[in-house]
């Protein structure tokens, strides 16, 4: 009898889970009808919630959640932290979070400006060779100690001198001297060559306490939120820093929950475990009920492209590269693999860069398979050729893009094999050893400079993994980086963009959309032209 009873329990449990399957399907289709229609606008990145205007009234009938009452939120993130030491962290996902904990002498604002942070004032000499920073008097570290000149010099030195190989930031090599004044209030930095972008580089020299050795386990910074605890592959907890020098954060506590599985993130939102998840795919946002969530749309601020190894046959021939550009319909890629969300690009620059971005290059190669075939024939490939696209397999968007490209290139006779590799292999074989034919990835500018996106195509750049080599490009680039006149420099950067497009260095695709699910009642989300999520402006309405 007892055994029969147990059997009964098991059978009913299994039966229930089957029913659940049916229920789930029905509800999802109900919600999908409400998803905003995809529009490919090249608007500024700081636009939120397409179509659905947030009305303050309906908030009344949804009771506040436990976390809203406690003035805290939980954010779901898809990857763990690579390092909590601000000078060692390299993963974009880590910087995105630690942006709230660490600050440099200057920090980025949501409209793409560099604003004073630990320094209250910054001045630049006429010749662009000397920068003077005035330290803000009332800045405190999370451990309560005031920030002194020693800490500032130590932090910059740690990123510059290379004693700690991991912390070394090659861009700071242009510093020839750091001179604090006698009373420890101003720091004069002399450069070996003029640079308009120096502030963007010094931004990444996050200020940490001098000789502090516990950054990995007990990070201390000056940002609006301070570190409380971390459990590997589980969570990281931040708390509002009461002594913050600037506008303090509004939420008392922010918990980041790590869920590598994308289904897990969606389930976490649905179950109420999470309040906010960024970088969702369009089909994931459709699984969420609009009664509970707003979907804000920003842009990822990256250049997604089919990057070609310009040193490898047949891509060493400009006609073949141009043929690829004609053969690939960017809008079709965006429509098929991204549900229409995304901004088509024609060069290594995206709209957030404002004056640097040359919109006219987007349609330089309009979709034209006949032109592609003609160019291929001219280059000696009338019947097409075989090629491989190496993709990092953990990035679903890039894998999906590759699948669309296979079909598009087949139309012009090019037979594509997609080669998925894991991230570590991609880094060492494709990016490091440059052993590849073509690859799909998204390149960003982690210091908000246009230069970052262009510099890597200089023929002797260490990170020029596409082996692009063009004499004119190298000449303009070397002039541009030391140019102190902003207008001149901007014009040169635009020339570089044009050079990349005309020579079809790569097949530029799009700036991917960043879809963020935000629980109703949670307001204040601000998009940055940088891969960061500022939690200090978030609050429960």
């Amino acid at each position: 009898m007892k055994r029969n009873f147990l059997a009964g329990i098991l059978a009913s449990v299994m039966g229930l889970s089957l029913l659940a399957g049916c229920g789930s399907g029905g509800k999802n289709t109900g919600a999908s009808a409400e998803t905003p229609a995809p529009t490919a606008t090249a608007a500024a990145p700081a636009t939120a919630a397409p179509q659905k205007t947030p009305a303050p009234l309906p908030e009344e009938d949804s009771p506040k959640t436990e976390r809203a009452l406690a003035n805290e939120i939980t954010i779901g993130i898809a990857q763990d932290f690579d390092s909590l030491d601000p000078h060692h962290m390299t993963a974009a996902g880590t910087k995105e979070v630690m942006f709230n904990v660490y600050e440099g002498l200057v920090k980025p604002s949501s409209d793409g400006e560099l604003i004073p942070a630990v320094a209250s004032e910054v001045s630049k000499s006429e010749d662009g060779l000397t920068y003077t920073f005035t330290l803000r008097p009332d800045v405190k570290f999370h451990n309560g100690d005031p920030v002194t000149m020693d800490d500032v010099v130590y932090s910059i030195e740690r990123r510059r001198n290379g004693e700690d190989a991991e912390a070394k930031l090659a861009a700071l090599d242009i510093i020839s001297s750091l001179t604090p004044d006698a009373d420890g209030r101003t720091l004069t930095v002399t450069l070996s060559e003029p640079s308009n972008e120096f502030l963007a580089y010094v931004m990444n020299a996050y200020i940490i306490p001098a000789e502090y050795s516990l950054l990995e386990t007990a990070p201390v910074g000056t940002g609006p939120y301070k570190f409380v605890s971390r459990a590997a592959q589980d969570n990281l907890v931040l708390e509002r820093f009461a002594d913050y020098w600037g506008t303090p954060g509004k939420l008392d506590k922010v918990t980041y929950k790590i869920l590598e599985n994308s289904e897990g993130l969606v389930l976490g939102l649905q179950s109420g475990a999470l309040d906010l998840v960024a970088h969702l795919a369009a089909d994931q946002t459709r699984q969420l009920s609009i009664a509970d969530f707003d979907i804000a749309q920003g842009s990822m601020n990256l250049v997604q492209a089919l990057y070609l190894n310009n040193a490898e046959k047949p891509f060493d021939d400009v006609r073949v590269r141009q043929a690829l550009c004609y053969a690939i319909d960017k809008q079709m890629v965006i429509d098929l693999a991204f549900d229409g969300y995304g901004i088509p690009l024609g060069t290594s620059m995206f709209p957030s860069f404002g004056k640097y971005y040359d919109q006219s290059l987007t349609d330089y190669y309009s979709y034209d398979p006949a032109a592609a075939k003609a160019l291929l024939a001219e280059a000696g490939y009338p019947d097409g050729f075989d090629m491989t696209i190496t993709v990092p397999s953990n990035y679903a968007p890039h894998v999906n893009t590759a699948e669309v490209l296979v079909e598009l290139l087949r139309e012009v006779g090019i037979n594509v094999t997609v080669l998925p590799v894991d991230w570590s292999t991609w880094l060492s074989d494709v990016y490091g050893a440059r052993q590849f034919q073509s690859t799909i990835t998204g390149l960003t500018s982690d210091n908000m400079t246009a230069r970052k996106l262009l510099e890597r195509f200089g023929s002797d750049a260490g990170n020029n993994f596409t082996n692009y080599s063009n004499e004119e490009y190298d000449r303009i680039l070397s002039e541009a980086i030391t140019e102190t006149d902003d207008a001149e420099q901007t014009a040169m950067y635009r020339l570089l963009e044009r050079n990349l497009t005309e020579n079809a260095a790569n097949v530029y695709l799009q700036d991917m959309a960043d879809l963020v699910a935000v629980r109703h009642g949670l307001t204040g989300l601000d998009f940055y032209p940088l891969y960061v999520l500022d939690v200090s402006t978030l609050y429960w309405a």
Binding site: R3, N4, L6, A7, I9, L10, M14, L16, S17, L18, L19, A20, G23, S24, T74, G76, D80, S83, D85, T90, A91, G162, A165, E166, K168, A170, E216, A231, A232, Q233, D234, K257, I258, L259, E260, N261, E263, G264, L267, G268, L269, Q270, S271, G272, A273, L274, N394, V421, D422, W423, S424, T425, L427, S428, D429, Y431, G432, D446, G462, N463
Partner: protein, 316 residues
């Protein structure tokens, strides 16, 4: 005593072999922990400096021997990607995965043995068809999918637990156990279905044996024979199978931990492999090898208890 020595010896050899093969595998596959740590902005000088700092520029055998010495002296090294001692990283996750496997194992045992016997009694009837179909379904549906169904139904529709919010095992043990229970159900379904099928066919073949015919012809009813004799004889192969199950559950937890967002060893193993975090992977692999050998040994011991014919140690 001889048996115990033999087992311990086998354990050591297995662990040694497995650790060496893992070390070798990492040597052969592409990917580089240093580049993974430093990301896309690394310069060649930085890569070289960090490589020598981590001791990765030394020859293969030197590194393996170094690791081995560390392992036997209790120094498991430091994780590359988490930058903390391997043991600190693993210990809290070990108990979660062990608990998850244990709950699954209990679920499998208490459901599949009675269900197996029950399904024998259905043989030939209409219920047999239903059972066959249901059994096939349970074996075929991947845990990934059942995991989503279970999370959705019990977590989102019924709100019995909150998917994505695993409570701390020490701060909220009851909540953690409840959470693990649902993950364990998901983990045990395919394996339980296999055990049921196996139990059923073993009972069928036992019931056809001569001793059963004799017992029945002497006037015992079928049910008594089944419970008193057949069950015990059928258990030997089922226990062996359950031993394998125990070993396999830890492997199955990789998928389930990801879907349910449980901070266990399975998830750690996957990310450590993708980060080429050798020190962590080495230790995990040795723990898994230990677990597999242990499960086999336990199954042997239980079988020897059930069936005295196996006790002489002949079947080791």
């Amino acid at each position: 005593m001889k048996y115990a020595l033999k087992r311990v010896g086998m354990l050591l050899v297995t662990m040694l072999l497995v650790s060496f093969l893992t070390f070798l595998a990492f040597q052969l596959v592409s990917g580089d922990p240093v580049r993974t740590m430093l990301g896309t902005e690394a310069t060649e000088a930085q890569i070289a400096a960090l490589r020598s700092e981590l001791g990765l520029d030394r020859p293969f055998f030197v590194r393996y021997f170094d690791w081995l010495c560390g392992f036997f002296t209790g120094n498991l090294g430091t994780s590359f990607s988490y930058r903390q001692p391997v043991w600190d990283l693993i210990s809290s996750k070990l108990e979660i995965t062990l608990l998850l496997s244990l709950i699954s194992f209990i679920l499998i045992t208490v459901t599949s043995i009675p269900l197996g016997v029950l399904s024998y009694q259905w043989v030939g009837g209409p219920m047999d068809w239903v059972r066959t179909a249901f059994n096939q379904l349970c074996m075929a549906v991947p845990p990934f999918f059942t995991g989503i169904l279970i999370s959705w139904f019990f977590g989102i529709a019924l709100r019995v637990f909150t998917p994505g919010d695993f409570p701390g095992l020490h701060t909220n043990p009851a909540g953690a156990l409840r959470y693990l229970f649902f993950a364990a159900v998901c983990l045990s379904i395919p394996r339980a279905a296999m055990t049921v099928r196996m139990m059923r066919s073993t009972v069928i073949s036992e019931m056809n044996k001569a001793y059963v015919r004799t017992a029945i012809s002497r006037g015992n009813d079928r049910r008594t024979v089944l419970m008193a004799h057949v069950l015990k004889n059928s258990l030997v192969s089922v226990v062996t199978f359950l031993g394998q199950t125990m070993a396999e559950l830890v492997g199955g937890s990789v998928v389930v931990e990801q879907v349910f967002g449980i901070p266990g060893l399975g998830r750690l193993l996957v990310t450590s492999i993708s980060h080429r975090d050798y020190p962590v992977v080495q230790t995990l692999v040795v723990i898994l090898a230990f677990w597999v050998v242990l499960a086999g040994t336990l199954a042997d011991l239980v079988n020897q208890y059930i069936d005295p014919r196996l006790r002489l140690g002949g079947a080791v």
